[in-house]
Symmetry: C5
Subunit: 273 residues, 5 copies
Amino acid sequence: MDIATLAGLGIGIVLVFWGMLSSAGGNMQIYINIPSILITGGGTLAATMISFRLNQVMKAMKLFQIAMQEKLPDPSEIIGTLVALAEKARKEGLLALEEEANRFDDPFFKKGIQLVVDGTDPQLLKSILETELLFMEERHKTGRAVFETMASFAPAFGLIGTLIGLVAMLVHLDDPKKVGPGMAVALLTTLYGALIANLFCLPVANKLKLRSAQEILLKEVIIEGILSIQAGDNPRIVEEKLKSFFAPEIREQFERTREGQERVIPLRQTREA
Amino acid sequence: MDIATLAGLGIGIVLVFWGMLSSAGGNMQIYINIPSILITGGGTLAATMISFRLNQVMKAMKLFQIAMQEKLPDPSEIIGTLVALAEKARKEGLLALEEEANRFDDPFFKKGIQLVVDGTDPQLLKSILETELLFMEERHKTGRAVFETMASFAPAFGLIGTLIGLVAMLVHLDDPKKVGPGMAVALLTTLYGALIANLFCLPVANKLKLRSAQEILLKEVIIEGILSIQAGDNPRIVEEKLKSFFAPEIREQFERTREGQERVIPLRQTREA
Amino acid sequence: MDIATLAGLGIGIVLVFWGMLSSAGGNMQIYINIPSILITGGGTLAATMISFRLNQVMKAMKLFQIAMQEKLPDPSEIIGTLVALAEKARKEGLLALEEEANRFDDPFFKKGIQLVVDGTDPQLLKSILETELLFMEERHKTGRAVFETMASFAPAFGLIGTLIGLVAMLVHLDDPKKVGPGMAVALLTTLYGALIANLFCLPVANKLKLRSAQEILLKEVIIEGILSIQAGDNPRIVEEKLKSFFAPEIREQFERTREGQERVIPLRQTREA
Amino acid sequence: MDIATLAGLGIGIVLVFWGMLSSAGGNMQIYINIPSILITGGGTLAATMISFRLNQVMKAMKLFQIAMQEKLPDPSEIIGTLVALAEKARKEGLLALEEEANRFDDPFFKKGIQLVVDGTDPQLLKSILETELLFMEERHKTGRAVFETMASFAPAFGLIGTLIGLVAMLVHLDDPKKVGPGMAVALLTTLYGALIANLFCLPVANKLKLRSAQEILLKEVIIEGILSIQAGDNPRIVEEKLKSFFAPEIREQFERTREGQERVIPLRQTREA
Amino acid sequence: MDIATLAGLGIGIVLVFWGMLSSAGGNMQIYINIPSILITGGGTLAATMISFRLNQVMKAMKLFQIAMQEKLPDPSEIIGTLVALAEKARKEGLLALEEEANRFDDPFFKKGIQLVVDGTDPQLLKSILETELLFMEERHKTGRAVFETMASFAPAFGLIGTLIGLVAMLVHLDDPKKVGPGMAVALLTTLYGALIANLFCLPVANKLKLRSAQEILLKEVIIEGILSIQAGDNPRIVEEKLKSFFAPEIREQFERTREGQERVIPLRQTREA
């Protein structure tokens, strides 16, 4: 799992809990109210379910899990692998890539190399891989939209819960002892709504957006590299083309790695390790 | 009706009612106030009626009903039908499609096939079907706009109702017994406004948007397929072209279906079933 | 006047008044406060006057009046007129349109036909009519912007009025009898601001936007038709071209009308009726 | 100064003052609090200074002054001048424009004519004038951004001031006599923030936007006219081209002016008057 | 450090502190509450950490420091340097630029000149420098996004802290002595959130945006100048081309500087001073 995400979630939850404990003098239970949790969380989920189709809501949850756990491959590793494949293709021909293709974990990379080996027309190859990328981007966008929609409904259902509580409390205003606790419970849904939106949904939507952009960039590098290999480009030119996709730090990192070890098919080897 | 929409609406309403019951200690009637319902709901409708023309507001309601009840055809079924038609056209000529055309329920599909049989010029055929699609998209957008407009006016009229109630209550502040119930009634319109917007209008507008996008995609597939049939493309190529419109899951689903049964005109057969 | 606009405004005002009456127990005058009306309404107008030029604010009011009273011509009528003119031009030549031109009320239509009769170059004709359309669109946009600007300033001046009232009330908090009525008066400006924005400015801006889009579509149809007539297109083709601008209902309506009566210059005849 | 701006500002200020007087029973000083003015106004200025560079903030103030005082030239006057120059250029040659160029106040107009007299290449002439226009537009946009930024910070610092006041008041809640005046003072910053944003910054930003659009249109007309003169176009065509930039009213106004007096170089004459 | 930023931050902080002191009667400590600072500041940082990757958050802080301390080079100085280099290249050939290249501090300028000396293909040279510029822009955008994200989370966590405090206070409403101080502490987080957003994050994001635009403009001038030098343009034309990027004031400033001293490589000399 991404260290910043984990740390951020942990720090946020710890701070909020500690803030509650220090405010309530240790009496944590004043912040827990099952009906309030059900109205805010359940209402948010209900509105999100009306907004999307059931399988989209479920896919978003899965997408979140994957995004948090799986690490994206290292850009310098991908460049290295593509340069090594370009060298192999120049020396032994495109058909020699067949045995390499089977070693990749990434289905996108594998499919691309297989299509090259099959002798697919470059135009069709490009179109197939780009269509695949387009649908990946759309799926990411929908997954993100589920979290963004939840983030917009959570404060709304927090307010709805608070209004329900306030109305009940106000009707019995003649008993002053009930006013305080009544309002306290009423405000809990607003608090829950703000926490759901700001400590979970919005930051996760932000992170998914960032990650999606990175993953798309990596796939674009793979498409560019595979097309360059198919065209029989010089490995040096393949390397120059692919490096231009990244920031200076990553370029330097790739050059340092390259000097340290002369890997042939680094991506696969790393994966096997 | 779409299961997620139904479930979402149901869960949302049940949670809100249950929240009211548990807050009010079973005394549900403190949440029901006819003047408050009339000001919030009626005011929202009034502002929406000024914003649109009467027939647009009514069409939106009908569009909502249709969208909730009717199921969109299965993408893999549409591909299958178009591939089967392409095969028939290759074997028996375009005129042989005439008898098939009459079997379709979908007027858009029917009209397209009829135009092919009539020997319409491809350019004109494309233009006619795309114009039809454009206006369908515009109608969907207006229908959605009605719900979005209601979602923005509902909280505003909720606030207006609350202010009306507060002013009346504040004038008689000297009687402390009336303060609580007065404020409770005043807050009801804000509650109604939030519920109208967040439990009904906004989620429905979201769902209509999603559904419109799906329907447009299906119509684009039909246009592409009909043009491909008219051009006399090989059924295999027709299939490849159409599959590129969909996500991998749907492609696999189509291939599974294809292997299981060798249907000639699947869409019609399914419809008759 | 547009029936939905009238009905919407009427229903909205009646509901708000009735809500006030039922809240105040018939004592309507607690909702009327001249200084509050002046601060909210006057402040909104003042800020709008700084934002625009005086003649733009005045034109917007006039535009509103026109838009509410005048009915847009019927699309099927415009198609009919243009088709009839195309037939006449085919039979008797473009010069024969001169006598027809003088019969139109609509200056845009009249100018277009006059330019055709004058033998204006098609490119220049198109450019002149489109420039005219562009400036009509700009004028509509500015007129709408006046209402949108008022809608954004009204709640702000409502808040300013409430703050002015609250400060005055709070300074004399030692007299508890004045608290309630003081706050009631203070809240009136917020109520007025919300009503100005949501019952008048925003719905009117919405309606003007919708109407502008319809009027522009009609003018585009007229430009297309006049250019087609000038080019000597077959009346049947003129009809097909123009019908593609409208939704299926309007196309059908045109065909029904056509069958019922074989009008030569329907637009003029209708206008004279 | 623009009459609507002056009137709007005057009416707004008078209404707010009168509202304060009538609320406070003539005791105006309850609305004046120096620390509150300093926190709201000073905080807004401070945040704006961090956002921009010092000279940009100062230029914005100057731009505001100029925009409020200087009147934009009359479109029909500019058309008249350009048509007169076109006539002169046709009769006496482009060099004859030299003596006219020195008579203009507007440096943009002067520069354009001087470049024509110097025999500048049309492509370069167009590029120089359009670059100048582009930078004028950018300067206007930055000037406007200063007011828009102030409009967004003013309510925020109003809230900050109110929170500072509320905290101080709440700590001494045991003395009920201080509660009212304390809250009154606390709310003053919110009032000041709302007034700064809605009675000054936002309307001024709106007016600057409108004025910038008008000034750019006039400069575009001058560029079009100068290029047309350089190309040796017939004065009649120059007139037709330039009139198409304006709304019908301005075209008619130009034609009325033209009939009334046959001016040769009207712009200069008006300026000397 | 930029004088306006420093002054703005200083004035803002002094005004807020002074406002607190004058409100609290010198008892500053009522505005300081460690748990409140931790919940607002820590929660904001936590949500920002989930939104971005750790190294992006850290880079943003560094970017802020650099942006505040380093002064951007003077546009007229950059034009002067490029014109001087163009003169040298015309007289002594492109290779003569090699010794100059080593004197520059700016790695972007240095790299560009080195690539010219190396005889890089103009197309490739342009592409390399523009890619570098693109990634600089992207890095700036991400750095700014960190501050913008913090600005949107800070008020949200301010509200969360206030709700936590309010709930704790309301539960013990029966002790009226605790109400005031309890609410005072609860409101502190809202105050902190508003200050973090409006006195720090938003103005800094605004300033970073402005500075990024300036830096990109300077780099574009350098690219244009280097390409012009490589193409062997006349120094006079190089100057004209580059001056068109700037506003009139900067053009005049460059001309004044030019007359005062006839510098050969001004940028380097200034840097050594």
